[in-house]
Symmetry: C2
Subunit: 202 residues, 2 copies
Amino acid sequence: MPRVTDAHRQARREQIAEAAVRVLMRNGISDTSIAQISAECRLSIGAIYANFENKADLARFVATRLFDWRITELESRTDGGAVLTPVELLAVLLTSLSDANRPAPSVILQFWSKASVDADLRVVLAEQVGRLCASVERALRPWADAQTDGAGEELALRTAQACMIMSQGFLANRCLFGWLDAEDFLATATHALGPVDAADLR
Amino acid sequence: MPRVTDAHRQARREQIAEAAVRVLMRNGISDTSIAQISAECRLSIGAIYANFENKADLARFVATRLFDWRITELESRTDGGAVLTPVELLAVLLTSLSDANRPAPSVILQFWSKASVDADLRVVLAEQVGRLCASVERALRPWADAQTDGAGEELALRTAQACMIMSQGFLANRCLFGWLDAEDFLATATHALGPVDAADLR
DNA sequence: ACCTGAACACCGTTCAAGT
DNA sequence: ACCTGAACACCGTTCAAGT
């Protein structure tokens, strides 16, 4: 509960969240204790509870930060103004996930699973995934407009969602089983889905 | 630790696992206590520990059972002998995930996230995902052989992996955000990946 | 031969007491 | 105005005692 100044509070929240990410990368969400985070950021347990309502509230804040970083990175890679095809955009999305140094895909996996059981976290995640998807959609808009006349907006949205789904499947596999690299996956997926006419799936 | 007959043990393990799945569907893996499972199957806490080494061991057993069910279902849907294209096979995979009554995709999500932090569970999951993938690979073999001369085996494997990745991304989205249904996703993905030549991704 | 439940160490959360 | 850490209820795990 808020018993601290708002300015002080914001700084403390960032400090705690950064420590939390470090511990989460090592242990996963349910094997991370408040005591461990408290030790990592050199604040008492009580200080954490002065800045976050509870563990779930801290989790929501951390999840938001992870997406902030990811969206910033994506936008910096797609603001060139070139017309990107879906495959090219997927390549950007997937290789940025393979980097392995940043926020760590496994932490995102932790949040997905927690969200499937925590409705408040699910709302936060849906919002952030929506922001990321909107960013993808913007990057795909020139391609989509060139494909159809007038229906570019609808096509860009649906294609962005399909890209998100594929990148999320890639993330899960990459971090659990290390299957394929980004280019192999794209080449195979393109070949598998390419030669078939969309109309005859039924 | 085993202090019970092997036959009795097997029956008890199935009984406990079935109760565990019911609780997991409600609560998720880390909010499910042994006490809750014990209440659900009407056995004491001690009885559970007589049949499983610990909570992680029970989790590995449950994960294996979930995949057994899924593989059986997939094989019953693809043994018609028809030549299935990747898109048709993906449709089978995705609609079977949408059924929503069976093992519940959200439970699978729980296991993925736990696995990213528990090496033993990861080994079990990799093995089971490998079995499911092999089943997909077998179903795709006729299509793959018709595509190339001689390289059907390699193509079937890589395509199976791509199908697994897409179905896993679909599962995560479906259970977290309810995006798109299976046909919409396939139509959009096919359109997005189709018109582009595999060679020009770079 | 199998089962029970009290006991222990640990985790999330609170709050009286400090500075 | 902010911080600490002992205290409480609960969870995973064990094991002496029951039948």
